[in-house]
Every structure is written in structure tokens, then in C-alpha cells.
């Protein structure tokens, strides 16, 4: 059991990194990665949402959808749960951490449409994980997202001070960087576990 969990966590963080290998959740990855601090905040918010969403969607799927034979409602039911969760996180941050709330700005409500969150909920079902494995998978996939976005933000902070050809300034160089990091992460696919 413990071994399984470790395998799930490591593969979700490194080998099948959601952003860099599966290409899910690219919008916040590019949008909120200008500063390490906000990237970290976004990563934490996504981690919370994804872990909670994994647990909730598993419960909903296991106790409501499957017994009623409503498997086909997965997508819409999960979107409902995720939207409500994000709303909750937004209210929580506005109350408790207004600084982070302002820094995340529009990208916070956009977690609702972050396909990584819906992706993890659907992948949990597809991989036939149980509740604990689902939560571990969701949390570690989000940690992988956090790792990717923080790494990327670190590189982008350095890019601010480098001499970049005029045509590549801003987003073009960010996209090239993202591609290079993605290629680097492909190296993990050789890991045997």
C-alpha cells in the first residue's frame, strides 16, 4: 500500500508532471509565473483545490453517480464541485490572505477552468484509484504543478535581466523556456519504478 502511494506520488510529480508532460493547466502556468512568490501561492491554492476535489469527486462518483448508474454525468458533476471549491478557496483567501488574493487576481477564479483540476478528477476514475490513492494522486499532481510553476517563475525572474533579442522579448522567450523545461522533464520518463 505504502509502496503504491509512493509510486503514485513520484510518478505524478516527476514522470507524468501535469504541466510539463501531460500539458494540463497551461493557462495559470504561463499567467502567474512572473514572480516566485505568486507562483508559490498559486501552487498552494491549486494543491488545496486539487486534493479537495480529488476527495470530493471520488465520493460523489462512488456514492452517488455509480450506484445510480449516472457515470455519464461525471464531467458536469465534477465541474460543479470544482467551481464551488474554487469559490470557497477564493473567499478563504480574501479573508485570510488578502495580499495573496490580490497577487493572484483573475487567475484565482480561473482555477475553475483549470483543466488540471478536472483532469485529475477524471484520471482518478479512469485509473480506478481508491479514496486514499485519489487524494494522494490529486495532491502530488498539484505538487508537480507547483514544482513546475515555481521552477518556471525562477527562470522567468532571471530572464528579466538577460539580453534577449527584440523579437523574443516577453511571451515568446517564456514559451521557449517552457518548452525547454518540458524537454528536461522528459528525462524523468526513464525512471524505473
Amino acid at each position: 500500500m505504502l509502496r503504491d502511494i509512493l509510486v503514485i506520488a513520484i510518478s505524478a510529480i516527476f514522470i507524468e508532471n501535469f504541466v510539463l508532460v501531460k500539458f494540463l493547466g497551461i493557462c495559470p502556468f504561463l499567467g502567474v509565473s512572473k514572480k516566485i512568490q505568486t507562483a508559490m501561492g498559486m501552487g498552494m491554492a491549486v494543491t488545496f483545490v486539487m486534493a479537495m476535489a480529488s476527495a470530493l469527486t471520488w465520493c460523489i462518483n462512488h456514492f452517488i453517480l455509480q450506484p445510480c448508474g449516472l457515470d455519464y454525468l461525471q464531467t458536469i458533476a465534477f465541474i460543479l464541485v470544482i467551481a464551488a471549491l474554487v469559490q470557497l478557496v477564493e473567499m478563504f483567501l480574501q479573508k485570510m490572505l488578502p495580499g495573496l488574493y490580490n497577487a493572484l487576481g483573475i487567475y484565482l477564479p480561473l482555477i475553475t477552468t483549470n483543466c488540471a483540476v478536472l483532469g485529475v478528477a477524471l484520471l482518478n476514475i479512469q485509473n480506478e484509484f481508491n479514496l486514499i490513492k485519489s487524494i494522494v494522486y490529486g495532491a502530488s499532481a498539484a505538487l508537480g504543478f507547483t514544482l513546475a510553476i515555481v521552477l518556471f517563475a525562477g527562470v522567468r525572474e532571471h530572464l528579466e535581466f538577460s539580453e534577449i533579442p527584440e523579437a523574443l522579448k516577453g511571451f515568446p522567450i517564456a514559451l521557449i523556456t517552457a518548452g525547454l523545461i518540458s524537454i528536461a522533464f522528459l528525462g524523468f520518463s526513464g525512471l524505473q519504478i
Binding site: L70, L80, A84, L88
Partner: protein, 267 residues
């Protein structure tokens, strides 16, 4: 009957989440300056960004905090600034209302063509091809970048020149920024006269390029008794701080490129 099961199941999930959120919003509610909501209502709500804030809600917050003046919204004009001044309890000082004017009347018959442009309907792209299809490199290209950015439906392209409807124009400045030729200027709304050419070509050349181009003859400059119209860089420009709307320059212009508002060809 079968359709009821998914409806009830999904409805129940939604209801439970809704109740949860309602409870959370009560528990986690943040005390917000109630003026922000009132100010936002007084703003036009177009989210055009003309105030340089990221939208009406952000501007409302800035006004409430005193970071932005009550007349910061150029679109709402005097009307909204008055309401906002009332909410904030400060004296209202309405900003001078402007209107955007396309400083070119080089319609297809008047302006000569350099080449036949058949590319994308985009001024920016045309401008990169040797400055666009018109012989005069300062004129309106008429491909409608301004039309596309205007959120108030105030600009139309007529006969390959953009025309602003002063009734609809709110002087938000989006078209001014979008124009690659910088041919759209903001002028005070109450002023009558505008010089519709900004070509810096010399008079002799201009005659060959466009029949409604300013030839820098300086007759308007001589006619003006208030020192308000000046020829600089080979085109006449009105200093609206000095202009008194007397109309002498309008009468003097041999090329008829000084336009008066009420005239029908002004549009």
C-alpha cells in the same frame, strides 16, 4: 421517469454546494467599503481601460481609496464624475470632454494610391508594407483597426477613411492607441473646427499625393487673429487653448481641409 434520476441527483449536489457556499460567504465575508459598489454603479461598466485601470471595478476601488480622482473615467464624463463626487463627498471638477477625430479625409478619389493593397484587413499589417497602399504616408489606411477596438460603435470606415461619430464617441482613446498612423487625435468636444490633415510632406509634393492634403500655405495662420493656428512640420494645427471658434481659418483654407462641425460632410 429515467430523466428524473440525473436531474434530482445533480440538483441535489448543486443545492448542497450552494448552501455550503452561502454559509461560507457569511462566515468568511470581508468588510468592503460600501462606496466601492456605489461608485462602480455610477461608472459606465464598459471595462474599456481608458482610465488605465484594469476595469471599472478596479477603478472604483481606487477612487474609494482616494488613489484616483473622481473624474478619472473619461467615458462616463461629467455625469458619472458628479455622482461619484457625491458619493465621495468631494467637489466635482469635470474633466474637459474630448472627442476623437480622424485627422485625414483622403477618401479613395482624393488620395493617390502607391500600390494596390490586397492583404489582410488590418492597418498594422498594411502599414508594414511600405507604409500602406496610399501615396501619402501619414493618412488613414481605412482598414478599420480603430473600428475593431471601439467598444461604443462610434467609428465607421467610409470610402477608405475612418469617420468618428461624435455623438457616440466617449474619447476613451482606444482608437488613438490602435492607429498605426497616429492619425486619430482627441480634440475638445465643444470646439467647432478641425484641420483634417497631418501630412508632413512639403506642399509641392502634397499636391501630387492627395487633393485634400495640407500644403502648408499658411493662409490660415495669417487669417487667425488669436495666434491659435500654426503650421508646423508642413501641416496646420490648432491650439485649442487659444482657439475662439471664429472660423477665419475655415474661410481662408484654399484646400478646404479645415472642417466645421455642423457641415454635413463632417459626419
Amino acid at each position: 421517469m429515467h430523466i428524473l434520476i440525473p436531474v434530482v441527483a445533480l440538483g441535489a449536489i448543486g443545492l448542497v454546494l450552494g448552501v455550503l457556499l452561502a454559509a461560507a460567504s457569511k462566515y468568511l465575508s470581508v468588510e468592503q467599503d460600501e462606496r466601492i459598489g456605489q461608485i462602480e454603479e455610477a461608472l459606465p461598466g464598459a471595462n474599456c481601460g481608458a482610465c488605465s485601470y484594469a476595469g471599472c471595478a478596479v477603478l472604483a476601488a481606487a477612487i474609494a481609496e482616494g488613489k484616483a480622482p473622481v473624474n478619472a473615467c473619461p467615458v462616463g464624463g461629467a455625469k458619472s464624475s458628479e455622482i461619484i463626487a457625491g458619493i465621495m463627498g468631494v467637489e466635482n471638477s469635470p474633466a474637459a470632454e474630448n472627442v476623437a477625430v480622424v485627422m485625414c479625409r483622403g477618401i479613395s478619389g482624393a488620395a493617390q494610391k502607391k500600390y494596390l493593397y490586397e492583404g489582410f484587413e488590418d492597418c498594422d499589417i498594411a502599414n508594414r508594407l511600405a507604409g500602406g497602399g496610399k501615396a501619402c504616408e501619414y493618412g488613414c489606411l481605412g482598414l478599420g483597426n480603430c473600428v475593431r477596438v471601439c467598444q461604443f460603435d462610434a467609428i465607421k470606415v467610409e470610402d477608405s477613411v475612418a469617420v468618428v461619430d461624435p455623438e457616440k464617441c466617449t474619447a476613451c482613446g482606444l482608437c488613438v492607441a490602435a492607429c498605426p498612423k497616429k492619425v486619430i487625435h482627441l480634440v475638445p468636444k465643444e470646439r467647432q473646427y478641425t484641420v483634417r490633415c497631418i501630412s508632413q510632406d512639403k506642399g509641392a509634393q502634397m499636391k501630387n499625393l492627395c487633393s485634400v492634403g495640407c500644403i502648408a500655405c499658411r493662409l490660415c495662420e495669417k487669417a487667425c487673429r488669436f495666434d491659435a493656428i500654426k503650421v508646423k512640420d508642413n501641416f496646420a494645427i490648432i491650439d485649442y487653448d487659444k482657439c475662439t471658434d471664429c472660423g477665419k481659418c475655415f474661410e481662408a483654407c484654399p484646400k478646404k481641409i479645415i472642417y466645421k462641425k455642423e457641415l454635413p460632410n463632417e459626419a
